[in-house]
Amino acid sequence: MPGDPMPLRLHVPEPTGRPGQATDFSYLRVSAPGEVPRPAVDIVPSHTGTMAWKLIRVLDDHGQAVGPWAPRVEPETLRRGLVAMLRTRAFDARMLIAQRQKRISFYMQCLGEEAVAVAHALALQPGDMCFPTYRQQGLLLCRDDIDVVELMCQLLSNERDPLRGRQLPVMYSYRRAGFFSISGNLATQFVQAVGWAMASAIKGDTKIASAWIGDGSTAEADFHNALTFAHVYRAPVILNVVNNQWAISTFQAIAGGEGTTFAARGVGAGIASLRVDGNDFLAVLSASRWAAERARRNLGPTLVEWVTYRAGAHSTSDDPARYRPADDWQKFPLGDPVARLRQHLTGLGAWSDAEHDRTVAALDEEMAAALKEASRHGSVQDGHIPPLATMFEDVYRQMPPHLREQMRQAAAETGVA
């Protein structure tokens, strides 16, 4: 080799903005609304490279639905979607207050990411199973068969908590609503969703699975296992990567997003992949339908990267002012999913400012009343918690002798049963 050897340097990615600096989203590749083609659902997966590198968008700056991905959808469906996003936001806001008042120990909001869950749910059928992370509460709050009082009892870890006080707040489980138990460990459920979908195919069932992961956890081996197994067995599953730019304080470049897209990983694994504006309710609905149809027609998995922004803190234990510019969300090129759908519906004449204000006020009232009702069943703070025996139940299908003995001992030592 001619010349002097060059000293090697380690590259450690940095975000484009830190506290006190001007924010800069120039790293985010954004396509024009309507620009990206919509292929037939039976496209060869390796031919989805364009869709994985560009950004599928439907709503333009004026709130008009444009281009091939504009979905056929009744305004009434979109109105319900808007209300569900507002309801999710109202629930989050009330629970953040409750956490600051120390009525619950911990909370995680999904501010700015509501469309990713709520619009996706519209593409699923009863019996399908979602394997969500802790930021898809919209999947539950868009349903009319989930009682918000019961959700709040889970957050309070009280006597009415359906999970018997065993899980951190927000780690819900609702089999009957197609909502898999949230682990709390990251990425583990992504590959389980693939297994659930494989079982559906093994049984000759018609149900599909939808898996969720954040940009940060795509670095886990379970993400790659999920892609491999989904591809190998052509599993009827939707693999959702919610790229909200931040994993606690870690910018998405540290997860491997620099100079590439998360959707591109799917193409490399032989999976049809889309990169979609996650704050565009119509684009989320349309892409979700496309992916669900592929799964239902035995065409295999679809990976969808939803580009969005985590507008709030990671959790109530986090302070984003310490690691990112304060005005990030205001400058985010893809805006706010609620404001954008509201603009679209207003343009259609299907929504008004007065109706918006009335709805927000009513939802706020609903959440305040629900919290009052849930609090009547106690909280982890006031000691109205599930009985001691529940600590020992459900470890095994039937309680083995050593746990019966430990339960007896714990009751004797604490003086409660």
């Binding site: 609702y174 138990s181 296992n225 470890v395 002798p401």
Partner: protein, 340 residues
């Protein structure tokens, strides 16, 4: 009645399960067309089809992770991790997911997955094909850990494991696959057909979990052991002329405490024996249980005979393996006969 090897008995168990329950599926590395590197699943794909018995990618986390998802969707997966030494990439799925899904969801979802793993040494497998990691599983609440020592138990326990509704770690001592090896590695191998526990019914039966077997009744001392070491203990008792009561735990956790305690209270002396490394090994738990439940019946300190606290060596395999001589020495020690 037909005699079977461990391999044939395990295959027969999976055959019975696949044939009687459409929810049972079997998969893992090389288990489909080829029938597994130890042949335990040979012929099952041809009989039951590729959608029920199939090959998997080389990703233990993916094997166990997908099995959990399948179980949550009503199937009963029986998966193979090719060697127990390879389970580590699946640790998160086993410990944080399978073991706790029922608990964390308050019974909303369960993960009745059975994970078969060949374990143990004696085959010149070196440090990546010889490990006995049972203590890493017995430490995890929510798991059942099982290790059969003979063909009859292997089939009955595997069927019981699948029907238990709990996640089960099913450890198969690979040195026992083809015969009851007693640690005398320079002797010709004894085939299973000469052992009474190789008589295995063709159809369904179970050996209950949480149930130990007294494989040799005796009066002088109690041996608590499992897997390959059952035969090593028998050889040691013969060689030393000791009337040992040998207990094969079969289910390591949850276990059959009563059988252990009754025996030690009767003999007053106890030797704990396993092939795995010593420190924080499952033997430490057994010693603790005996101390808690039998202290006033003990005539001598409890002895532990185990593998050394080193990686499993290749060339020095037989210096590592706790053979009959080491076990016999422990017998003499607890009997107060002094060291030779």
């Amino acid at each position: 009645m037909a005699t079977m090897t461990m391999i044939q008995a395990l295959r027969s168990a999976m055959d019975v399960l696949l044939g009687s329950d459409p929810d049972v599926v079997v998969f893992g590395e090389d288990v489909g067309y080829f029938g597994g590197v130890f042949r335990c699943t040979e012929g099952l794909q041809a009989k039951y089809g590729r959608h029920r018995v199939f090959d998997s990618p080389i990703a233990e986390g993916g094997i166990v992770g997908t099995a959990i998802g399948m179980a949550a969707n009503g199937l009963k997966p029986v998966v193979e991790v090719q060697f127990a030494d390879y389970f580590y990439p699946a640790s998160d799925q086993i410990v944080s997911e399978a073991a706790r899904l029922r608990y964390r969801s308050a019974g909303d979802f369960t993960a009745p997955v059975v994970i078969r793993m060949p374990c143990g040494g004696g085959i010149y497998g070196g440090q990546t094909h010889s490990q006995s990691p049972e203590a890493l599983f017995t430490h995890v609440c929510g798991l059942r850990t099982v290790m059969p020592s003979n063909p009859y138990d292997a089939k009955g326990l595997l069927i019981a494991a699948v029907e238990s509704g709990d996640p089960v770690i099913f450890l198969e001592p690979k040195r026992l696959y083809n015969g009851p090896f007693d640690g005398q590695h320079d002797q010709p191998m004894v085939p299973w057909s000469r052992h009474p526990r190789s008589e295995v019914p063709e159809g369904r039966y179970t050996v209950p979990l949480e149930s130990a077997a007294v494989v040799r009744p005796g009066e002088q001392l109690t041996v608590l052991t499992y897997g390959t070491m059952v035969y090593v203990a028998e050889a040691a008792a013969r060689q030393a002329g000791v009337d040992a009561e040998i207990i094969d735990l079969r289910s390591l956790w949850p276990l059959d405490l009563a059988t252990m305690v009754d025996s030690v209270r009767k003999t007053g002396r106890c030797v704990v024996l396993h092939e795995a490394t010593r420190t924080s090994g499952f033997g430490a738990e057994l010693v603790s249980l005996v101390q808690e439940h039998c202290f006033y019946h003990l005539e001598a300190p409890i002895e532990r005979v185990t593998g050394w606290d080193t990686p499993y060596p290749h060339a020095l395999e037989w210096a590592y393996f706790p053979g009959p001589e080491r076990v016999a020495r422990a017998f003499r020690k607890v009997l107060g006969e002094g060291l030779p």
